[in-house]
Every structure is written in structure tokens, then in C-alpha cells.
Amino acid sequence: MSVTSLLENYSEFRHFHPVDDVPHNPYKWAMSIDLDACSGCNACSVACYAENNLPVVGREGFAHGQAMHWMRIERYWDEDGREFPDQGAQFLPMMCQQCEAAPCETVCPVGATNHTPDGINSQIYNRCIGSRYCSANCPYKVRYFNWYDYPTTDNVWPAEMNQQLNPDVTVRGKGVMEKCTFCIQRVTVAKNNAKNEGRLIHDGDVQTACQQACPTSAISFGNLVDPESKVYKQWKAQQVELDKDAQIKDKEEGGSELRGYRIFEELRPYPSVMYLERVRESAV
């Protein structure tokens, strides 16, 4: 009885997270990306295409802004008006930030996107009716909509290429929103194995496709509530916390020695991806 259930669990249902003591137990998946290591080589992006059955939209589709790259590498130039970019460019891998207070989740009329108990912003493709409200409300614009029926569109997956598709990931038809899932299929498998062995997932048991490919190991992925995990340590060392909306170092005079920040923290979506600022040599 749902009314009974409501009454029984009322206090739980009125709980807020992530302000709660332990936001997710025992898992909260998070990332940290070292922009100083990222070389912008695009390997992560291609790996994501391979892992997650992303369609190739072709020249026309790309021209219309309909590309489906869950992971996109952005390249920024300095804006100080130099004639040559003699400090190089800055690369930023951008994918779904798996916000704790995700603006996309509340607005979906059918609840196709929810927060899982382990802190991933899940996208249930079959539930999606394509209102695209989530994308409209995403500050990072990392949600991608299937404008066409790519699986049946010519040359996206001709018969042979069909065989490459990952059976653990649904092939999305037209009219469905999709986005980076932190390779939830890999997490699920790792969880299954861990359960079989009567333990929790250890750090390193699960790697996302982008992390696995990244030649400079700029991407770390792991469990934020596991004190043994690299991600936990990195977040802690950088004093980045899930429910903060600014970095202490930004408030200090002259900056500090910390590099961690999250994009658009001030909007308070509490993203789960921490970026480490790129470093520029001051001697040259």
C-alpha cells in the first residue's frame, strides 16, 4: 500500500541529500579530471562512441548541431588579445557532470532521468518521451537528443557495423534523450561481481571507457564515499566537497595551491566531476 508506505517512510522521503551526512551509501560515483594532464587528443571521446553505441550523425547532422558526442573536447584560447596563442590552448573534456542536485531530473515529465542511489544521473531511454526539457534546463548542455532514427538511418550502422554494438547498452531510437552515464553498464557489472564475492567494489574495479582509454590518465573515476579511492583522496586534497558552491581558494587573496574546482558551482547543481586547473609555467 503506497499510502502506508508513505506514512511508514515519511521521514526518509522528506530527507534532503546531499546535505545529508552520508550522501550515498556505500557508493557515490565521481570523477576528477586533471586538465594539466589532458592533452585534448580525443581518445576518450572515440572510446565513448565505441562503448556506448553512439551514432555517427555525419556531416549534415554535425552541421546542424546534432552531434551525439557524450564526451566532447573543448578547446579554449586565451582571451588576452595576443596575436599568437603562445601559451597554448586549454582543453576541457566535457560530459554529463552527474550533478547531485541535477536541474534536469526535476523537470522530466515522465521521470525518465533520476538519481540512482549511487549518485549517477541515470537516463532511462525507454521511459523518455522526448520533451527535451532536461536538455533545456542543463547548464552544461551535455544532453544529446536523437533527432533522427540513427539505428535505421543509412550508413550509421550498416549491417556489419551493427555487430560492434555493445549489447549492454540500449541503441537509442529517434526521439530519445541520451547522455553520459558514467558507463553505468560497467558499474553494474562490477557491482554484480563484488556482490558475488561478498564485498564492495574496490577502487579500480570499474573504469569508465574514457578513463580506460585516456593516454595521459587525466581522468580518475571512483567511489567518493570510499576513503581508499583515488577520487576521494583527490577531492579531499583539493578541498572540493559535493555540496559546496564555491572554492575557498577563490575567496583568498592571491589564490592558493589548490587546483580543484567544479564548473558552474555557483549555480549549485553540485556536479560530481571535479576538474583540476591547468598549470602554466610562470618561468617562460
Partner: protein
């Protein structure tokens, strides 16, 4: 005046009834528990009744992948032959003859899927077998029967359960014991799914619901 008041009370009652029905409907059992799927023609009319009932062969003897993989699997032809090579008494039966024809041609048998969930559903046999067979020590035919019905009474298997989402969910929201006497706890049950407290009943048995998070079953 009283007439209208009576009418109002009646209306309110009606609304309350409709409301609580609607609110509770998702928690109730689906309407048809037994939904017999279509009869399916298989290349060989496999007699489950002979194997599972008469011979008392464990389901997982043939469907051996069930306890370690997401799919239960059809046994390789090799396995059928492995036994039937030694059972001379039935060798001239037409079904067995067909079986050997496939074997000799080294051709796989094109079985038809009987319990065919949509592609976007992730159902893991292993987890369910682990939970109910190994952990709770339920009999194997009962455990498989939760979803597959009473296969041991069938010749060609036929879908007996609804296998709709609501049907799955109805079971996931039941409180199942976490351990049974003699059963071994699987994993570190340090956490509970879906914002629900574990339930400890009078006899001290801890009970928990199935996971309720969409991405557990939807890929």
C-alpha cells in the same frame, strides 16, 4: 437540504474510494498473474516434463549459465548428446533422431525464445539465483518458477507469467528475507536500496526489498 448533504457525503466517499484505489493501485498485484504466452513451435519439441519432472534433473544442469551469467542459456548441443549418446532406449524416437541429425551436421539448433524481454531490459539470472537459490535455499524449481512458471509440467516451455514491468516490480517491493536458516548471506548487505529501511520481523529475520532504482533493470 439533507438530501444534498447526503449526496455530498456520498460523493466524498466515492472520491475517497477512487482516490485511494488509484493511489494504491501501483502497489497491488497486476490483474492477471497467469498470462499464458503463445504456444511456440520449436525445432525439437523438447519435453521438459520428461527431464525435469520424471528424471528430476536440476534446471541448472542444462541451463548452466543461469548461476553465473545474466542469461540462463540454452545448453550447447554437445551437452544433449553427452547424455543421449548413452541412452539407447530412446535413440529411435523421432525427436532424438532430429537431435542427432543436427549433431552430425554440426549445426546449431535454432531454438525460439520463449521468455523474450524487450532489449532495453537488463534481467540478471545470476542475481536472482544467488538470492533465492543459494542464499535462501529455496528449491530450484520454485526459484525458476517465480518467473518461468511450472516448467516441469510442460513439454515445450511456454510463458506463464506476465513478465511486465509492473509484474517484476510487484515482487521487488515485497519484503524478502535477507538470510534464511542455513543460508549464506550474499555479499556485504551493508546497504539497502531505495531509501527504505530494512525490516526486522518478530522472529528477528531481516527482510529487504528488491532494488527500486530504474537503472538497475533498464540499460
Amino acid at each position: 437540504m439533507h438530501r444534498f448533504l447526503r449526496l455530498s457525503v456520498l460523493l466524498m466517499g466515492l472520491f475517497a474510494a477512487v482516490g485511494s484505489y488509484a493511489a494504491d493501485a501501483p502497489q497491488s498485484e497486476p490483474m492477471t498473474e497467469d498470462d499464458l504466452g503463445p504456444a511456440i513451435e520449436q525445432p525439437i519439441e523438447f519435453p521438459h516434463v520428461r527431464h525435469a519432472k520424471d528424471m528430476q534433473i536440476n534446471c541448472m544442469y542444462c541451463h548452466t549459465y543461469a548461476r553465473r551469467s545474466a542469461v540462463a542459456g540454452i545448453p550447447p548441443l554437445q551437452k544433449c548428446i553427452g547424455c543421449h549418446n548413452w541412452i539407447d532406449s530412446v535413440k529411435d524416437k523421432p525427436r532424438i533422431k532430429t537431435l542427432f541429425e543436427y549433431w552430425e551436421a554440426k549445426k546449431a539448433i535454432p531454438w525460439k525464445k520463449v521468455h523474450d524481454l524487450p532489449d532495453f531490459v537488463r534481467f540478471n539470472h545470476e542475481r536472482h539465483i544467488k538470492r533465492f537459490y543459494f542464499q535462501l535455499n529455496r528449491p530450484v524449481q520454485e526459484v525458476c518458477g517465480y518467473c518461468h512458471g511450472d516448467v516441469k509440467e510442460m513439454t515445450v516451455a511456454r510463458r506463464q507469467k506476465l513478465l511486465s514491468m509492473g509484474w517484476c516490480v510487484a515482487c521487488h517491493q515485497k519484503d524478502h528475507p535477507v538470510t534464511a536458516e542455513g543460508g549464506t548471506p550474499i555479499g556485504n548487505q551493508a546497504y539497502w536500496y531505495g531509501m527504505r529501511k530494512p525490516l526486522i520481523d518478530v522472529s528477528g529475520i531481516i527482510k529487504a526489498k528488491g532494488p527500486n532504482d530504474c537503472s538497475v533493470c533498464h540499460k
